[in-house]
């Protein structure tokens, strides 16, 4: 198969990357999607609120996906459904499989990783108790309800306040289930503020911060769940247990970028994001392999996924046309003071875009804090934020012009600062 760019995954990231690559002049693009349709996880996100940034209107998940699917169709980009990528070699040999073609290999000039993420399961949380039916990750329950049309249960406890858990609290309630409580291990929610208001507060569902599940009862099906408060060490505090009779436990305890294929390609991953470390072109440390969307780092809004993926698509197109994306000397981007990571981790001033978006997340809640950017020791910007929370992605934009004015620049530091002037 004569393919220039193979895109692994036909969700929002893969679709936006494909469209952008094609518009940037790339030919022979192939999207490999394991599901029965394009659109990825958006297909089961039937709630609204998507696309406010991109389209300036409120769309449902499937509607948002359709706008990109339409583009892919109009641009006549090829795709294969029901196709699982089994391996990517360090020199970009992609091995995939489906019923019609069997196992096939493509020697790609460039690869865009857009595999998305998976949910952290109960086992990884080491929650004690029985292991009955009725324990679902929130996304699995969302699929059962929204795609298959089945109710997972009627009395529900939710552990974790990630966005899917919050959305499912509302969804299950609207379908007639009683959501008893949402328990969150951390002292803050991992989800968007708007989802806490619209999905919990508006329905009178209590959110218990600094709580976790300490027991699951029921041999066949869940019968009750006990939650307890946790101390600063996040360990349960004896005597604070509360038992809830229920038939369902939903888990929304974090998303993990799905990077098994990246590892097979020999790509270095970040210990913080669990996604590849990338340059400003979103190129991994394997030349010609790019990453975008939730496989790179877990996003809060799909609009940012689309924007990031378009950049990856343009980079891949440029790479295929022979342009070097790492010209000159790299400048490291270093997160400090509450910023947990940055994407990208380095910028090449000579080859980067005029504007480089650097995204990051905070490790805690900060009120009336500042996001500051330093070029070595010089403060370049200092922007006040009313609130910075781990559930919401932050960004700063670097200007190529400014970078080129500093030829000896070593490091760019991005910090969250809590009082004027200090660090």
């Amino acid at each position: 198969m004569n393919i220039d760019i193979v895109i692994v995954g036909g969700g929002p990231a893969g679709l936006a990357a494909a469209a952008a690559a094609k518009k940037a002049g790339a030919e022979r693009i192939l999207i490999l999607e394991r599901d029965k349709e394009l659109g990825g996880i958006l297909n089961q996100c039937i709630h609204n609120g998507f696309g406010l940034h991109t389209f300036k209107e409120e769309l449902t998940g499937p509607e948002y996906a359709q706008r990109f699917i339409d583009q892919v169709e109009e641009l006549q980009i090829e795709y294969k459904l029901h196709t699982m990528v089994m391996d990517i070699s360090p020199d970009k040999d992609v091995t995939a499989m489906n019923r019609e073609d069997g196992v096939f290999q493509i020697q790609a000039k460039a690869v865009i990783l857009a595999m998305g993420c998976r949910e952290r399961p109960r086992g990884a949380l080491n929650i004690p108790g029985y292991r009955p039916a009725g324990i679902f990750s929130a996304g699995t329950a969302q699929r059962l309800v929204n795609i298959e049309g089945y109710m997972p249960g009627k009395r529900v406890v939710i552990l974790g306040s990630g966005d899917i858990g919050l959305i499912m609290a509302r969804r299950m309630t609207l379908e007639g289930a009683k959501v008893e409580v949402v328990a969150e291990l951390m002292p803050y929610s991992g989800g968007l503020k708007r989802n806490i208001v619209q999905c919990l507060d508006d329905f009178g569902i209590p959110l218990l911060l600094s709580h976790t599940v300490v027991d699951i009862e029921g041999k066949d099906r869940v019968q009750a769940v006990t939650i307890a408060q946790v101390g600063p060490d996040r360990r349960p505090v004896p005597g604070t247990e509360k038992r809830f009779e229920c038939d369902t436990l939903l888990l929304s305890c974090g998303l993990i970028p799905e990077n098994e294929l990246s590892l097979s390609a020999g790509i270095t991953l970040s210990g913080v994001t669990n996604g590849p470390v990338v340059s400003d072109a979103l190129e991994t440390d394997r030349e010609g392999i790019f990453a975008c969307g939730n496989v790179l780092h877990v996003h809060d809004l799909v609009d940012f996924v689309s924007e990031e993926a378009a950049k990856a698509g343009r980079s891949a197109a440029a790479y295929v046309s022979g342009k070097s994306l790492k010209q000159g000397k790299a400048v490291k981007i270093i997160p400090e003071g509450g910023a947990r990571y940055t994407v990208p981790v380095e910028v090449y001033p000579e080859s980067c875009d005029d504007l480089v978006t650097v995204r990051f997340r905070a490790g805690n809640i900060y009120k009336d804090a500042f996001v500051s950017v330093y070029f070595d020791d010089e403060q370049i910007s200092h922007v006040r934020k009313r609130i910075i929370a781990p559930g919401e992605m932050e960004q700063v934009v670097l200007q190529k012009k400014k970078l080129l004015e500093k030829p000896g620049l070593q490091n760019i530091r991005i910090c969250i600062e809590t009082d004027e002037g200090g660090r």
Partner: protein, 495 residues
Amino acid sequence: MYDVVIIGAGVTGCAVARELGKYGGKFLVLEKEEDVCCGTSKANSAIVHSGYDAVPGTNMAKMNVQGNAMMEDVCKDLDVPFDRIGSLLVCTEEEQRTALQELYERGIQNGVPDLRIVERDEALAMEPNLSDAVVAALYAPTAGIICPFKLTIAFAENANENGVEFQFDTKVTGLQKQGDGWTITTDSGEKIETRCVVNAAGVYADELNNLVSSRKLHITPRRGDYCLLDKSVGGYVKHTVFQLPTRFGKGVLVSPTVHGNTLVGPTAIDVEDKEATATTQEGLDKLIEQSAIGMKNIPIRSVITSFAGLRAHEDGHEFILGEAEDAAGFFNCAGIESPGLSSAPAIGKYTAELLQKKLSLVEKADWKKTRKDIQTLDGLTIEEKNALIKENPAYGTIICRCESVTEGEILDAIRRPLGAKSLDGVKRRTRAGMGRCQAGFCSPRVMEILVRERGVEMEAITKSGGDARIVIGTLPLRQTGEASGDTGIQAEIQD
């Protein structure tokens, strides 16, 4: 009238069934759960002990050493993954060397081959992640790792192919001597007549024995908690590493599994309830703490699941085998705790031979010795894979992405004799759902296949039989036929 009814379809009951399949006769296995391998056999260390642990002369010692020696051929005949990786029993205090030496000598008496004591340097060369405290170790090269599900399922399938019947979801409630034989009463009120009974009821074996024999048994369910680690840390340990009991506790093992995961466990906590397989925070904490005695830097953050099993611990800590003295035709396989899995082939053979003598059973000419496991894509060349997919396109569709399980494998698991009926049944046969996402991705897909294949509604699909239903019904909106339901929801949440 059956010749033999075996009560319990765990690894022991199924091993006896497999051996009985050699003979002409009418045989039945009764199981209270919906599938084979639902009790102790599904939640254990998945290892084959070399046999130095048990007191010389005991059934435990004999069956373990014999079972270990038989395992290679059994696994070859039945297409079960088994790997003789060897074990290291580590000693972390100089004062413990005597205990290590005693076990070495015990092993020699039991007939364990090639045992030797290795000093720290050699042990460390074999296992680089041993803790700094390790001074020496007892190396047993004949110890191995095995898939306990596959072994049990393979015994059962082979038995079934040779004519042994299986009846699931059937609990024995009564056992009456009837002339020369026995009448078994089940929870559905059914009466089953048989000449002989084999008691392979695991943690319930004492209750069955005590119905018919004055030599009372008492089994304590002894819970063992385990943590299973992701394949990504697969190279962490190469042998099964045990610890000598110390003043800090009995110690737990760290071992690779045949599928490339790492298993850490078990604890040993006596419980009352014979169904109490819940893990506890205390148990898991203790496990993690104790595992650090023999090994260092255990990548416990890579845990993908934790679980607990119950050992059928008889007060005398010995396998109770053979015909009960005061109950002719009632054969015990009771008190089968560790090394029960290792001993299963030997216990099966021993018990079947007793039954053969008792009933004068005759070997069948057409006994089928071998059984093939489910075909997978593992180890095939691209050409071979494509030939398979061309012949059966279901092999081209991956259902479980973590373990790369295809639809072809799942269909085979459901369609073969004694096939899977539930998600756990599919999981134990194919590994679908056993990987790092723990079935988050594949469970709705496997459910769809079960619905299609079994011709039942989605609501009838269970995790593990009984009341373990996964969905409770269709959406209320669908039931009332309100096709525009979603629009209504949006209107409601827009403010």
